[in-house]
Structures are given as C-alpha cells and as structure tokens.
C-alpha cells in the first residue's frame, strides 16, 4: 500500500518524507473521498438498537430523513407505469413529476 501511495505522490510531485506524513496524507485522503452511507428503516425493530450501538452514525454523519411519498406523488404512479387507454405512453412532463402536479386539472400540489 505504501508503495502505491508513494507512486501516486511521485506522479503528483508531492514530497512525502516520512511514514507518519504518508499515513497522515492517506487518512486525509480517505476522509475526503470515502463516503459511508448507511440506509436504515425506522419501522424495523432493530433501528433504535442499531443506532444506539453505533453512535457515530448519528453524531459524525449527516442524517437524511426520507419521508413517505405524498398522495399526490403516489397518484402519478399509475400514469407513468400503465399505458394510456388512448394509446401511447404516459405523458407526464418533468415539471409535473417534480412538482407533483396533475396536468390538465390545475395545480393540486398540497406541499406548496
């Protein structure tokens, strides 16, 4: 591993004189480039114990809460997954999908 880091350092013309400096650079690089992402289901019985046993997952990582889809978003699913009765594909635009609008019936967005 050391050889590979030194080769990389040489290629980038970076001087790494000692092993400590080398390891320090390696750690900084890992910190900058490695992203550990843990996905958990809050409905699981193991959710709270798992977080309690691994505190860094909440204290050192950013917690992203993914809420359930709103009814307006779920209502878009049939139009996308099922073929239109008149033939052709579903005709939702990006805007409609992103904003949860139903085309033709005006804005039914409940979030706004």
């Amino acid at each position: 591993m050391q050889e590979r880091i030194e080769e990389e350092a040489d290629a980038r013309e970076v001087s790494l004189s000692s092993n400590e400096l080398l390891l320090s650079a390696f750690k900084r690089r890992v910190q900058a480039n490695l992203h550990v992402v843990v996905c958990l289901n809050p409905a699981s019985t193991a959710f709270v114990p798992a977080l309690a046993a691994n505190p860094a997952l909440t204290s050192k990582a950013q917690v992203v809460w993914v809420a359930d889809w709103l009814p307006t978003s779920i209502a878009l699913l049939p139009r996308l997954l099922l073929p239109s009765p008149l033939g052709g594909n579903a005709s939702l635009t990006d805007d409609e999908i992103a904003l949860g609008y139903e085309s033709g019936n005006g804005a039914t967005d409940q979030l706004a």
Partner: protein
C-alpha cells in the same frame, strides 16, 4: 432554488434531451476547471444553483446514462425523490467535510437509487457488501478495504453502501451480537467515527 454540485447543475442545464455522455463530459470538465482538490489538502467542492425541476431533469438523464453502463436503476423523480437527491448530492459533494450519511426511510422510496445516481454523477465508485450464503467476515472486511484503497490511494470518490439487510441477514460465521448489533454496521461506524480506523483495517505487513 437549491445548491447542487456542478455535475448535477451541468446535467440540468444541458439541452441534451437524451442524456448523452456530452453532458457528463462537460460536467466533469467544469468540475476539474473549477479546481480538483489538492492531493493532501482539504477543500470544499464548488456548487451551483439549480431548481427542483432542473434536478428532476438531471436525474432522468442520469437514469439514461447509468442504464447504458448496464446498471439497472428505476427511479421516478417525484418531489420527495428530488429533495433526497439534493441532500445526498450535498453530502457526496462535500469534499473533506462531513461526507458520511445515515439515510432513514422506508424501503421503496428511492433511497438507494438516488444514491447510485448521485454517485454516478460524481464519477464515484460503488461498494456494497453482498450478503450471500458464502459471505464471510473476511469478505466483508475485504469490501471495506477496497473502498478505503479506492479513496485513499486512487483518490477517487468512493461510496460504501450499507443497508438494513445487514441487520437481519448476517449469516453463520459472523458474531452477531445482541440488540441487532452487527459487524457490518460496526465497520461502518468505525470508519465514520475516525479516519484513523481506515488504517487499522490493514495489517502492519500490508502497511509496510
């Protein structure tokens, strides 16, 4: 309007409807011109501004692009998914800062797909322990070592993905503890808690 990384912004602003590789090339070029982080210094990535609609457009292009790489991703870019993608993009793009995430949500709402797409947008590498019948602790450690080497030696953006299946599916050969504690999460916890732990994955022989 939201702050997003330059690759996502470039994809959103590109007129390439089919989501061709041109947009991605432009995005990566813009990122490089903007400043690749120095090898041993911590810098933050540059950010652009983009609307929710633009992010949805970028996600749809990314789905097309990633499908060409033989990775099957099915994602419906509704508002909730777009918001999650923006959050993940902020975390993955935050070079040298808090780049780890715990995503909490019910299965099926697009957590993994969002992460895959954003990782692809950042030209990152994807690492995921696969809990098969013959999966052992050695293989688990090997997956983490690969991710650490990719990030630390090759300097590539690397995403180590662990999901809740690790909580319930650890197999004989693992010392699954009480209270749902599992070794996969312990490895993840150690790496998140300190970068020093990345070195401890290696034996002295490997380090020398």
């Amino acid at each position: 309007m939201d702050f997003v990384s330059l690759p996502l912004q470039a994809l959103a602003e590109s007129d390439d409807v089919e989501g061709d590789g041109i947009a991605m090339t432009h995005a990566i070029a813009t990122l490089r011109v903007g400043g690749v982080p120095d090898w041993i210094s911590q810098t933050s990535s540059q950010r652009g501004v983009c609307s929710d609609k633009g992010v949805a457009k970028a996600l749809r292009k990314l789905v097309n692009l990633i499908t060409r790489e033989d990775v099957q991703v099915s994602l419906l870019a509704v508002r909730e998914v777009v918001k999650v993608a923006i959050s993940i993009d902020y975390i993955i793009g935050s070079c040298g800062m808090c780049g780890h995430a715990t995503i909490v949500g019910a299965p099926g709402v697009g957590r993994k797909e969002c992460l895959k797409l954003v990782t692809f947008a950042h030209s990152g590498r994807w690492f995921e322990p696969v809990h098969s019948l013959r999966f052992s602790k050695k293989q688990l450690k090997g997956t983490f070592v690969d991710a650490v080497l990719s990030a630390g030696v090759e300097g590539r953006c690397s995403v180590m993905y662990v999901d809740e299946s690790a909580l319930v599916a650890e197999l004989p050969g693992f010392d699954t503890g009480i209270l749902g504690v599992c070794q996969t999460l312990e490895f993840a916890n150690s790496l998140v808690s300190s970068a020093d732990e990345s070195v401890r994955l290696f034996s002295p022989d490997e380090l020398g």
